[in-house]
C-alpha cells in the first residue's frame, strides 16, 4: 500500500498529516516539501520573526512528533511531475514515490514585480522562511526601505521595520491600502495608525522602474518621484501554485478546482489550502482563500473524508493580521456586503465594522476587539443577525445577550 502522499508541508499539508493520524488512518503518510526547514508557522515571518535578528522559526509541530505519529517527512526536494496513470510523483533528484491518494497542498507563490530593475539585489519577497531570512540579514544595513504593495504582508512588514527605526515608505497603486480585503473605514484606520507610527504611505502611485548598480538604490515612480532605498520589499499578492496540477491535466481555474469534499477532477487527488479553489459555502460560489484558518480547517475536513466519514467543507472563514501594535481580525467574508455599520469607541477610535449583505450579517472586521471578533464568528456561523442598534452599540454585554436570546429561540 502506497498510502497518502501530501505534497506541500505548509499549514494545510502538515495539519492534514496530523489529522489523518488523529482520525485513525493507519496506512503510510508521507509529507513532502521543497523547503528544507521543519514545517513552520508562516504568519510570524512578517511579524515577530523580523523583530529580532535571532528569533527562531516557530515550528508547526515538534521535530519528534513526525516519527511519533509515523509520518514520513521528505524535506528539501521539489516534486517535478505528477504521473496520474501510474499514481506516482517524480522528484527533482530523480526519485519517485507512489501514492494511493494524493493531497495537493502546494500553497501560493509570491507575484513577482515585473518593472525594470526588479531583479536587482536587495529586492525581497516574503513568502517562505528562506525569503524572510534573506531579508532579515539585510536589515542591519538598511536605513531606508520602500515597500511595494499595501496588502496585509506589505503593511505588516512596514510596521515592523518602522518599529526598528527604519524609514519606511509604502507604495500602493490603488487609492487606499488593503484593497477590497476590508471596508474603507478599516483601511483608513489602519493607514492612520501606520502614519502615526512613522510610515510614509503613497497611495495611487505607480512603479516606473528600480535603479542601482547591482544592488537596488532607488525606486522611481511613474510621476517622476525618486525614492532612495537600501532595500525594497515586494508584497503585491500571491498566485496559486498549480503548475504541477495543470501539467497533469487536473482542472484548474484560479487554483486547483475541487468539489465540496475537496476532491479534484481526479478522484484519487485532493487539494487544500491556498492552492485550492472550492465551492465556498458562505458565498455560494467558487472561491480560493489564503488564510491559516482555511488551510487547517480544510485539512481537518479532508482527513475525515479520507477516513470514511465524508464531510462537506463549510467552516466559517476567519483571518487576522497584526499591523504593528494593531490587531485586525476578520470574521466571515465580505465579498457580497452591501451595507456597513461602523462602530467607534468613546475616544473616537474605530472599534469594528459590521458588514451585511441584503440585511444578513456576513462579516465583522474588528480592531483590537478580540471578544467582539470571537462572538461575531459565532453569530455568523449560526446565521444570526442581531438588531441593528445592538450591532451599532459595539457593547459586549448587549451583543452577548442578543446572542444568548437568539440561540434560545427555536430556529
Amino acid at each position: 500500500m502506497a498510502g497518502v502522499v501530501i505534497l506541500g508541508a505548509g499549514h494545510a499539508g502538515t495539519q492534514a498529516a496530523a489529522s489523518l493520524r488523529e482520525a485513525g488512518f493507519t496506512g503510510p503518510v508521507t509529507l513532502v516539501s521543497d523547503e528544507a526547514d521543519l514545517p513552520y508557522h508562516k504568519p510570524p515571518l512578517s511579524k515577530s520573526f523580523m523583530k529580532q535578528a535571532d528569533a527562531p522559526l516557530q515550528p508547526l509541530r515538534g521535530a519528534a512528533t513526525y516519527a511519533q505519529k509515523d509520518i514520513t517527512l521528505r524535506l528539501g526536494v521539489a516534486v517535478t511531475a505528477i504521473d496520474r496513470p501510474a499514481r506516482c510523483l517524480h522528484f527533482a533528484d530523480g526519485s519517485r514515490l507512489n501514492y494511493d491518494r494524493l493531497i495537493l497542498a502546494t500553497g501560493t507563490a509570491a507575484r513577482r514585480l515585473t518593472a525594470p530593475g526588479a531583479d536587482l539585489g536587495g529586492v525581497f519577497y516574503l513568502r517562505s522562511a528562506q525569503d524572510a531570512r534573506a531579508m532579515r540579514a539585510a536589515l542591519p544595513d538598511a536605513g531606508r526601505v520602500v515597500v511595494i504593495g499595501g496588502g496585509f504582508i506589505g503593511l505588516e512588514a512596514a510596521a515592523m521595520l518602522a518599529a526598528r527605526g527604519i524609514a519606511v515608505t509604502v507604495i500602493e497603486m490603488a487609492t487606499q491600502v488593503l484593497g477590497r480585503a476590508v471596508s474603507g473605514a478599516v483601511a483608513s484606520a489602519v493607514a492612520a495608525d501606520l502614519v502615526a507610527n512613522g510610515v510614509t504611505l503613497r497611495c495611487g502611485a505607480g512603479i516606473d522602474h528600480l535603479s542601482g548598480a547591482g544592488q537596488v538604490g532607488a525606486v522611481h515612480l511613474t510621476d517622476g518621484t525618486r525614492l532612495p532605498a537600501d532595500i525594497v520589499v515586494v508584497g503585491i499578492g500571491a498566485m496559486p501554485e498549480v503548475a504541477l496540477a495543470q501539467a497533469a491535466g487536473l482542472a484548474c481555474d484560479n487554483g486547483v478546482v475541487t468539489d465540496a469534499t475537496l476532491a479534484t477532477s481526479d478522484p484519487a487527488i485532493f487539494a487544500i489550502g491556498d492552492c485550492a479553489a472550492y465551492p465556498q459555502a458562505q458565498l455560494g460560489r467558487m472561491a480560493r482563500l489564503e488564510s491559516v484558518q482555511n488551510a487547517t480547517d480544510q485539512a481537518r475536513a479532508l482527513a475525515q473524508t479520507l477516513t470514511g466519514n465524508p464531510v462537506v467543507y463549510d467552516a466559517l472563514p476567519w483571518f487576522w493580521s497584526d499591523i504593528g501594535a494593531l490587531k485586525l481580525q476578520i470574521a466571515g467574508l465580505s465579498h457580497d456586503a452591501d451595507d456597513a455599520i461602523v462602530v467607534h469607541r468613546a475616544d473616537g477610535s474605530l472599534q469594528s465594522v459590521w458588514r451585511l449583505a441584503q440585511g444578513r450579517l456576513v462579516a465583522v472586521e474588528t480592531l483590537d476587539s478580540p471578544g467582539e471578533h470571537m462572538l461575531a464568528r459565532r453569530l455568523i456561523a449560526e446565521g444570526l443577525t442581531p438588531a441593528r442598534d445592538v450591532m451599532a452599540s459595539g457593547d459586549m454585554a448587549a451583543l452577548k445577550a442578543a446572542y444568548a436570546s437568539a440561540r434560545a429561540l427555536p430556529a
Binding site: H11, Q15, A18, H41, P43, P44, Q58, P59, L60, R61, G62, A63, A64, T65, Q68, V292, Q293, T296, W318, W320, D322, K327, Q329, P370, G371, H373, M374, L375, R377, R378, M396
Partner: protein
C-alpha cells in the same frame, strides 16, 4: 525554566521544560505534546492550545485577560472553570510543577 506536565488526550503524561518567558504553548508544541495544535500560533484566536489546570502552583498563573476569556467562551470545546489557553501563559520559575490536561479537539 519551568517543568510543566501535560496530560495528553490518551491519558499519558509528558513533562516539558518551558524556557523562562516562552509561552507554555510554544514549549508544548516544540516538545510535540499531543492535542495542542496552536493553529493561530499564539494569537489568542483559535483555542486549539486549550488546557485544564489540574494541580501545582496555580497561584503563580497570570490573571486571565478578557481576550483569553472571550476566546475560551466562544471557541473552545467544553470551557470549564479551570480552562486556560496555554499561548497566553508565559513560563516562570514559579510555575514549575504545574500539571495541565490537554483538551484537544
Amino acid at each position: 525554566m519551568a517543568q510543566i506536565t501535560f496530560i495528553q488526550p490518551d491519558g499519558s503524561a509528558r513533562v516539558v521544560d518551558a524556557p523562562e518567558g516562552e509561552t507554555l504553548m510554544i514549549a508544548a508544541t516544540t516538545a510535540g505534546v499531543d492535542g495542542i495544535v496552536a493553529e493561530c500560533g499564539g494569537s489568542c484566536m483559535c483555542a486549539t492550545c486549550h488546557c485544564l489546570v489540574v494541580s501545582g502552583p496555580t497561584e503563580a498563573l497570570p490573571v486571565m485577560e478578557d481576550a483569553e476569556r472571550d476566546t475560551l467562551e466562544f471557541t473552545a470545546q467544553d470551557m470549564q472553570d479551570t480552562s486556560r489557553l496555554t499561548c497566553q501563559i508565559k513560563a516562570t520559575e514559579a510555575l514549575s510543577g504545574l500539571t495541565l490536561r490537554v483538551v484537544g479537539r
